[in-house]
Amino acid sequence: MDSSLSRDIYIPEQWSEAAESIAYSSTPPIALICGAKNCGKTTFSRHLLNILLHKYAKVAYLDTDVGQPEFAPPGFLSLTIVHKVTPDLTVPCLKTPERCLFFGDVSCKRDPSTYLSYVFAIYDYFQKEYCITKKGENPSNIKLPLIVNTPGWVKGVGYDVLVDMLKYISPTHVVKISISSENKNLPAGEFWLDEEHDETINLIEINSARRDSLNRSILFQKDARPLRDLRIMAYFKQCFSNDSNISTIKELAHALASHCPYEVPIASINIRHLHCEVPSSELFFSLNATIVGLAVDSEGPDNLPWCLGLGIVRGVDTVKGVLHVITPVPHSSLEKVNLLLQGYIQIPSCLLQVQGCISPYMSANTLAIN
């Protein structure tokens, strides 16, 4: 099964066997992938996705890693329905999720309970939309396979969050990827179950892909922050049509500064910060030149607002009473947006430094001790 056409990605046999055993189960599987940071969860999930697409026409992907989501920009929890095989396993690509919620931070450490409620909400949505509940039968049959990706936080708060997720979702297959340093791994066996071994769950334990001569895992250390910035920039590049000639970051920054923004009257929009209380008199100081989530209030489950995408509030005009917002969300969907969610997702500073058009928030005289 040669589905990975990319060079440089090494899929060990253990991994292909694992993927195939999941793919060829009788009913559409719900597979959750967990493991320490940088152990290869995302690569495995992409590989699994490709394998499943050979058998199923559509595969659902529930992404709970808010720091480096697969198909959405950072800060989002999303459910995406995938039709096409990803040819290159090294490069993530942006797709429009079916449903997503804006968490507003790159890790769940500030607010794990809200994070969990978001995960559960999206999973419930998946159940509702893609399950056929036959009367009298307890477990509902799902029509689509589901892959659940998790963040690599496996100790402390992250571990507790993972356990709660596993208990709620009860996947049919759990893929646990281990690295060579034992104390950084998740506990052995079915660590999330209080009682004994559950027959319906298949636990697949595999090792991280590369090992050196001393059998130590070689982890691909990624610099998280620049990668997130790149993802955000790729997201906002969608504001421009495909044939526009933007190939460098400088060109994107310049194009964004010249791009005609949407004007939305402040009076018709609610603004909320997801993680702290902003005094109402300081609202615009907090909002100007920040990234916000564009959400539709009171439409989601449990009053959680479904989010349509990200926007940059590039200006606040108190005289005219409008906000200037740049966003790639199409105009037709924008009309529903009535809520802006502020979080801690920062605009990449390279987008603020345009030749001749430098944002006032990029200051030149700050002391070097900061």
């Binding site: 590049k237 190939s247 500064a257 209380e277 008199s281 100007n288 590039r314 390279c350 058009c357 990029m362």
Partner: protein, 631 residues
Amino acid sequence: MDPPLLLGFEEVANVVTESSPSSSSARRLVPWLNWDEWLFVKRALFSHSSHSVSSALKRISTWRSRGSIPVFIEVTASIIEIQLQDSYFRQDQMNEASLSEEMLAMLYCMAVMRLVNVAVEKTRKKEVTSIAVAADAIGIPRMLIDIRHEGSHRELPSLKIVRSASVKALDWLKSYYWEPQSKAIPFQGEGITKVKKEIKSKIRELAVILKVNGNVQSQLKGKRVKHTEFLFGRNKLLSLMVGKSQTSRPGGSKKQITKILKYVLRLYSSFSSEIVSVLLEYLLKALSSSELEENADDASIGLTTENVLADWKLILLKLCNKEPDLLLNLLKEVLGMIESQEDMKREEDNPNMGISQSRTEFRLSSLFAWLVGILSKVPSAAAHMPKGVLLELLRRCLLISQLFNKQLVDSALQITELMDDSSLMQKVQKFSHVSLSNLEQADNQSSLLTSNNIFQYEESIHEADKKLELVKHQILKNKKPMAMDCDTKKSQTWTLAKSWNPCPIGMLPRAVGSSGCLPVLDIFDNEKQNQVSSGCLPVVDITDYEEQDQLLEKKESWKLAPHGAKRDATFDLLQLEKSTVKKMRGTEEFSELNNELPLQGDKGYLIVGGVWRKLTEEELLVIESSVRILV
């Protein structure tokens, strides 16, 4: 079914390496809009009034919500906030629900621990130096380090000790962060006069260098140059300067020129009016001194404006090429000066102008004509000036030029040429003929009603009539779409901005050019409006009540503000760039009041938006209380 978008960026490596700039000339993301905001917080944070301190803490918590707040500001804020809770430091108020001594000690201890950890972690190499040594290197008092150690490993230090430690910590923070940073701010926030001096000196420098360049080049061509005096009026010192620098090498000055240009233009977005006034000062001085010279040497040839301002032309061309908004502002400013001259004349009710007044008028109009000449020469300005802007200039120009000012009429024609609109051109030409013929009539002082004259008079009346009709028509046309707009606006909240000029993210666009202007982000709380009025502002226009009505109909508690009335006067001065428009707040109470409006008896009447309107008492109160006088 969208095509997958790959992260197709070529400069990935740059992103990675740019993540931690260490030199002080590199730019860093900060949560404040400009240094004035930072200075306001600094002053308020360390002041003795609890009101200012809490407003500073509010602002700092807003900065925290943006996520890029420097760590020393955060630590300072936490210590000061704890001190606010401590009745030892609060002489004015006694907190009933104050914290117990244990809790206070815990808070102080935590704040001090964070301070030491955060300050030291940045500077030390982990295994090489101990925390104590590294802390010593940056000057943290030993007491703080001991408290950190005590608090982490032994029992909590006593409240008295940590209290005095907090005072020491604040002093250290002031000396390590707040003072050095405020020294590093350009112009140190000292006010507009210092900025003006700086701009003046830079422009002088620029002029001198360009002059030198020009002189050297023309010397090479063997011409004699004698216009140094015109540059700076009769400033002998500067003429000497120019003379001296004429002997120095011209090479390397091109770099200097671009450096100075860049510097001045960078200042433009925050200090545009200062730059405009400095330039106008120099230009007018040059013109007036040339007139004096003209009087002195009777035999000399009449110097035209072109000759006099020839040197400044180059400077202006260079500046306006990079920043077309500057030229626009200069033009507007000169027109404004002419208008005020006319107003003065009208008020004094003296049709025969005094000599000095007529000279000023002549000077200003020739300056305007010269500037319009530059406008047509500057390629970027002419290309990018939106039609609306030019139309506005034209309108103002024509209005004033009715008073028999030939130069303005000519300038108007020039502006129309730039707009490339043949029908408009015809209209303006007709108008100019009419006004010129009127001028000639006045000059000739012949009131013979020959048949020709009658015909001309009739023609001019016809023209005027036509124009009036046109204007009426325009007004009617403009009113109709507004009614339409109101309806469509309600159904479309998200609309693309009608016109857009590139500007930095975080700023609002200018009419022309890409420097952008700083936004006013204050929200004014009307309940507190009648209280603290230490800030002073000039009265601003009250307009757009139609929009206010629309706002009131929507349920929201967001209020717009007159320009920062609660802050220090100096701060206001620094922020004052243009007059702002005040709008009324829209709350539900207000909408109720407005609905009752027809039922109330006649309250105060005010001209609003050109129309007499009835206002409720509330609205009057609001207007009254927001009238301020600039001290």
